[in-house]
Every structure is written in C-alpha cells, then in structure tokens.
C-alpha cells in the first residue's frame, strides 16, 4: 500500500496544498486564495474541500493509497500549540487554532502538525533531501527574508515557546542596517534578496558605477536575479555584491556553528541559484570565522528539495516526524 502525506504552504496571497509520496514527489496539488479579510472559518472550509478533492483524485489513481496526515507550513506557526499566532503578513488577527480546526474536519488522520516554513524546510531536508541520516544540521532559507530550521539529535529545535530558529535576526553588524523587524544589523538585512539589492545600491553609490547594468534600475525594480545576470556578464559591482553577501552570511553561519556544531548547513532559496557566486565567499568567510576545532569540518550544501514544490514537500515531511514521535 502506497503511503502519502498532505503538505500545505500558507502564504500571504495563496495557500498551496499537495499530496506528497514517501520519496518527496508531489502527486497532485491545488491552490486556494489565502483570505485577505481574515475569515478563518471560510478559509478552513475551503481548505478542507480542496484537501478532500485532492484525496479523491489520488484515490482514483490508486485505491490502495493510505493518507497518513497533514503537515502545514505557515508564518508565525507554533508547533507546540498548533496555532498561527499574530502573523503580521496574514490577515488573520490574533491566534488561529488551525491544527485543532483541521483535526475536527479530519478525525481519521493520525497526524496533523504545523510549523513555520523554515522549520518545514529543515524537516523536508531530513525526510526527503540531503540531510537523510544526519542528526545535527541547520537549514538557512534565503528569500524575501532569512529563516532557519535547526536539527539537534535528530529532532527539530522548537525551544521553550515553539519559536526557535530565527537566525535571520541574529546581529552580524552591530548598529548596522535597519531590518524589516525594526532591529538593526540583522543577517536578514544583508543576506536576503532585498538585502543584496541594498548592497548593490551601496556599491553603485560608493563607486559612482554609472556603467554597471544595475545602475539603470530603480531601487524598487532591482532584484537578485538581475544581480546574478550582471555578475555572469562580468559586472564587477554585481560580483562584489555576492562577495559581500557571502562574507556576511559566512559570519552568521560561523556563529551558528559555534552554538551547535552541526554536521552540515543547507542553503535554500532564490539567491542560492547563483551557485558558487554565493557559496564560495560564504564558505571562505565561514572558515575564516571558525575556531580551529571546527575548521574544514562543516559542509555547506545546497538544499536538495526541488525549488518549486519545496514548501509543500517540506510541510508534508512534518507528518513522518510526527508519526515517528508517536512510536517512541
């Protein structure tokens, strides 16, 4: 009998739902709008309907299929409580007991769990990806923000309140750039995609780089893909953006290693598509910032989750982790 898990990725605009097999392949998926006016019960009803439809279509393909549970990735999701709590980028106000609501609608499922998207990425890496068999590793997700998921002794670290793994908000430049959270000098303000854009504008200004292709874009138009293309085309400003981003990220990774001594750190998200433009300076800087006992030991690897489906695949992996815990 083939076993599958449902993965749900709740974003600010859309919520994507997929049925994922044990190898991390998405068999079918669907998308509904995330409400913009905070109507939770309507949202849960729509989600429930979409899940039922996906399950029916999967069962038509293979009547032997067993559905193990639902894993959800969402901003400000608290694994311990099963709630989404005061998410600034979602329209829901206050505390939404999403796991409880779905448990009522799907009493037949053995495991329903929620966590934030970076934690889901870490569990996805462990169940389906490059961290299979690893007991101590960390995932950094680079995108609009910088998130992280930490695994110690084979388990995700949730901390005392469910919110551990916010490495994007560690301070790497004391008194540095304003971060989206209101803090200063955070890793996210330097190593996210918007952080790279800010670095590009600093360098254009510093060098008065009128000949850089990046100089013809407005602050609001420039994105990290354009920086990558310019670097590939030989633009020195764009290449230096990657150097500096790697320097900052490597410092952050070294701080994480001095806390946790992981076997590997996985990098996930848009900016990692730049390959060695970002990996080489990151690893150089990380090694430079490490104590001798940690040097040349910790692997920095690209995530093995496929970019397009990673969010729902990662979320679905929560189900296997839950079932494993129930066995212990």
């Amino acid at each position: 009998m083939k076993k599958v898990a449902i993965g749900i990725d709740i974003g600010g605009t859309n919520t994507v739902i997929g049925v994922v097999d044990r190898e991390g392949n998405v068999l079918v998926k669907d998308s509904i709008a995330t409400p913009s006016h905070g109507n939770v019960s309507l949202f849960v009803d729509e989600m429930t309907g979409a899940i039922r439809e996906l399950l029916n279509s999967v069962k038509k393909l293979n009547p032997e299929i067993e559905i193990l549970g639902i894993g959800i990735g969402a901003p400000n999701a608290n694994y311990y409580t099963g709630n989404i709590e005061h998410a600034p980028n979602l329209s829901f106000k206050g505390v939404i007991p999403l796991v409880k609501l779905l448990e009522t609608n799907f009493p037949e499922l053995k495991a329903i769990a929620i966590t934030n998207d970076a934690n889901a990425a870490a569990i996805g890496e462990m169940i389906y990806g490059g961290a299979k068999g690893m007991k101590n590793f960390v995932v950094y997700t680079l995108g609009t923000g910088v998130g992280s998921g930490i695994v110690v002794n084979g388990d995700l670290v949730y901390g005392s309140d469910g919110f551990a793994g916010e490495c994007g908000h560690t301070t790497i430049v004391s008194g540095g750039r304003l971060c989206g959270c209101g803090g200063y000098g955070h890793l996210e303000a330097y190593c996210s995609a918007p952080g790279m854009k800010r670095t590009a504008f600093e360098l254009i200004t510093k060098y008065n780089a009128v000949n850089s292709p990046l100089a013809s874009k407005s602050f609001n138009d420039l994105d990290s893909k354009m920086i990558f293309d310019a670097a590939e085309g030989g633009d020195r400003v764009a290449q230096e953006v990657f150097e500096l981003t790697g320097n900052w990220l490597g410092l952050g990774l070294a701080n994480t290693i001095h806390h946790l001594s992981p076997e590997a750190i996985f990098l996930f998200g848009g900016p990692t598509a730049a390959g060695n433009y970002i990996f080489r300076p990151t690893i150089d800087s990380m090694e430079q910032h490490l104590l001798p006992i940690f040097k040349n030991k910790v692997k920095v690897l690209p995530s093995q989750l496929k970019a397009g489906d990673a969010a729902i695949v990662g979320a679905s992996a929560l189900v296997y982790k839950e079932l494993e815990k129930q066995l212990n």
Copy 2:
C-alpha cells in the same frame, strides 16, 4: 542509602576531586597537581589513588554510602569519545582516553563521563541549581574566557563532534578585537574578565582619565575585581566598563535566543559577582536586540552553583545525566 557522585575538575595547574551528594554538597575534596610534563599514566594513577582515599574517608563517615560514578570537567574534553583532545592549556599532547583509563581502574562504577567545564556547569545547573525542571536553557561562563553550555529538550547539545557550545567565539563586532583563539571580534574578547580590562584601558585612553583609580594600574595588574571596586566607589570609567560589557554580552545573548529560544540564560563566573552592574545593561541590551516575539520572555539569572565548588559539583552532575540516559 545515601548516593554520591565524584566530580573532577582538571585545570592547567591543579586537578580538584570531590565527593558530591544528590543536593550538590561537597562532602570531601582533595587536590593533586595537573602534570606539567604530560605524564598521563602517572596522572591517572595519582587521580585513582586520590579518588580511592576520598571514597574510603566518606565510607568511614557513612558505610551505607553508594558511589554512582565519576564526572569530569576538562578543557577540550569530548563527551562522545571520552577523550581530552589537543588541549592547548594542558601539558598532555594529542588525544588522552581518560574515560577509558578510569573505567579500567573503576570497573565497579556505573557511569564515568567527561565534558568541558562550561557544559559541566550547565548540567550542574540542571541537576542541582537554578535550572531544575527546565528543558531549554543556556549557561554562559564568564572568566578568563567565555564558555557556554546549551540544553535543548532536557539534554546537553554536543553537536556532531562533541564540541558544540562555543558561544564565546561567536563574532559580535565584525573585524573587532583580537581574541585569544586568533579570531577577531569574538564575544570572549569583550565579555571575559581580560576583555573588561581591555575595555577599561580603551576608556581611560579615550577620556584621558587620569583621575580614575584604574589609571594607576598597569595593563597586567588590572583585574575585574578592581573594576568592580572602582565602580562601587563612583568611578565613571569603571561604571562605563560594565555598561559596555553588558551591551556586548546582551547582543550575544540575543543571538543565542534567536537560535534556541531558551527559557532562561544563566550567567556564571567572577564578573557576575558585580550583580546589577553587569546584569542590568546585559538585560537592557538583550531586550533591545530581540525580535518582538522574544521580548520580556527570557530570564537572565545568576548561576545557583556555589562559586568555590562549582567546577567539581558541575562535573559530578554528569553522572546523574548518564544514569538517566542508561534508563531510557
């Protein structure tokens, strides 16, 4: 029947051995010289003799006493292997299989384990001190260096290689002061006792503070106790040393919280005797550097281990943690 554990603290000059009861009281203790010429077998023989003598004296007091095991705190000690590995401040060269050697001499004991002194302090805090019942907390030890021990889900974090918890070597000032390890800008270079002295000298220089009592001491003579006394006496330079030290330490603690979301962080060691001179600016800075979800949540507490015996008491606590693991 009263149960006791043996705690051993291996320092550069002396090795202290104590018999510790379940409440963390040292019943008897003794001290032998740590060899300065790297003779390991002689050292283990002396240690074994001293342990046997202590046990005999304890059994004379109470013949009913049961000895559970031996816990050792030592620099560069690796919990996983039971070895002391390339410790720069000990005369032993290479890898010393200390746990194996003691197991041969004490086959009757159920648990013999080793870790570094900061990890031992964390386990001591959990078994005997202020962290009883806590599942997620961190201990920072401030002294000649800055060490740390991290507890997640009730277990000490050793990481992939046994060396996790080196928060003293996280970078808090990019490109900042030279650290004893050869790195730059590490927390230890600012928040250790020698780091506070360096801050004092920076401030004396900055303000040309000829009237500060600290200005009459040489760099090699000034210590953190003198800075505390000067602060108590109203010296503005000394008071600012504590402000700045707290600012840096608070930044480091915030970085730790963004990784692990602990319930509490305990501060241990000489500089913490300054009480609110160090705790207030540390907590202020930590709160200022935290994401809103973590603000006003994480306690910063003085260690509850008695200063004089803390090293052997902490080491002895390893025994209870080992026995607990053997039960699972």
